[in-house]
Amino acid sequence: MRPVAVTGLGVVSPLGNDAGTFFAALVAGRSGVRRIALRFPERMVTRIAAPVDFDAPSHFPAPRLRMLDRVSQFALVAARQALEQSRGALDGLDPGRAGAFVGTGMGGAQTTDDGYYTLYGERSDRVKPFSVLMAMNNAPAAWIGMDHGLQGPNLTYSTACSSSTVAIGEAARRVAAGEVDVMIAGGAEAPLTFGTLKAWEALKTLAAEDPRDPAASCKPFAADRSGLVLGEGAAMLVLEDLARARARNATILARLVGYGLATDASHVTRPSVDGQARAMRLALEDAGLDVDAIGYINAHGTGTPANDPVETAAIRQVFGARAGATPVSSTKSMHAHLLGAAGALELVAAILAAREGVLPPTMNLAVPDPECDLDYVPNVARRVEGLAAVMSNSFAFGGTNAVLVACRD
């Protein structure tokens, strides 16, 4: 298998629309969670989310924009950034040797919501002519492929909250196997519609608004955590055959060295310690690394009552005596849960942590939970020396657990 390099990062997030701004906000402990107004605000119980400040017309001409759901807009902008940073990953490449894998949980949710509103709310049959093209789940990946002429594999992965981690892991395997030389891989999600929020509300998994500070409502690993906060955005990586990246003198931002995939096959929402632990072990085996090589774990850390103690126990099971000494943080406390895009965004956070030697904190962790007893880098970023390898966890409804391990070059 060929080693895989990361040569570009693109980010559209609740904490800023490029990777550098995003990471600086994480280190500063800034939150992107705030009150939002959607259709029928008076019917919303949950009024908080983490939206992206995004000026779509500055990125796309109007006729193009009318073909792109918000999820595809995010994906395209993030992919463009990642390719720019790679400084010519596609130059001189046979277009059939490059592709795009994107993870998304809910696809073109805004288009679906708008279409149903037209039909059922306005009782009109004037559904927009491009609704199908905008709502289809593979639209973000397809547009990336078209924009950059990528004629190799173009796939969309939908495994709920691990979608983009799966997309990146599967893309890395294609590069490693020599089927392709360059992949754009990541995730995109734009679920902040009235319909989607009501559906999540009904599942009783959303965080209650913090009465003193709405921005502090997501409290992973804290005793007073009450659920997840929905966010939106996209993160894309350029993955490239390491030898090729070196030959063209690209900046190697990281090497992607491990990917683990394991399924709970037990309960649709309740996470399993064993399932999560198996995914972490498989990723470590794939990387050929021992647990003490891992200097930081970006946790799935949703802030739900169910996830956080289970993830803690899974980390304890895998890391054993090293568990207490391995820093773990949930950046979802700041950027919230981007569902299908979460894993990609969090891998970017982990890669930049390794590059900068700074661990982003778990914010809003004031009241410890005895069942969550790891080092969560509470509330303040931490500078560390010699951080070599990092892990990023993504666990999903449906039970698809995916874990990635990246190394500094």
Binding site: A62, R66, R126, P129
Partner: protein
């Protein structure tokens, strides 16, 4: 404004087409209006002229080659609308 002028204003405003290129004899092909874009244009035309485009797309493709053809087609549909009582 006559039908052609209204159509031209709509295309310039919503479809990023240069007004000077929007002449009656300009072909849809030269304006890079493909079948997909045409579906959207007809959707907007329905709103603008308060008409319903009944024809199947294949039939339209036979009939409409230039902007002038499209304006004449729209005109026909507008004429066929029931007259508002005076």
């Amino acid at each position: 404004m006559n039908t052609f002028e209204r159509l031209r204003a709509l295309l310039a405003r919503d479809f990023d087409l240069a007004p000077e290129a929007l002449q009656p004899e300009a072909t849809l092909e030269n304006l890079e209006i493909d079948s997909l874009r045409m579906i959207e244009i007809l959707f907007c035309v329905e709103d603008e002229f308060k008409i319903v485009v009944p024809a199947e797309h294949a039939e339209l493709k036979e009939r409409l080659h230039t902007l002038g053809d499209l304006a004449a087609y729209i005109d026909g549909l507008v004429q066929a609308l029931p007259k508002a009582p005076a």
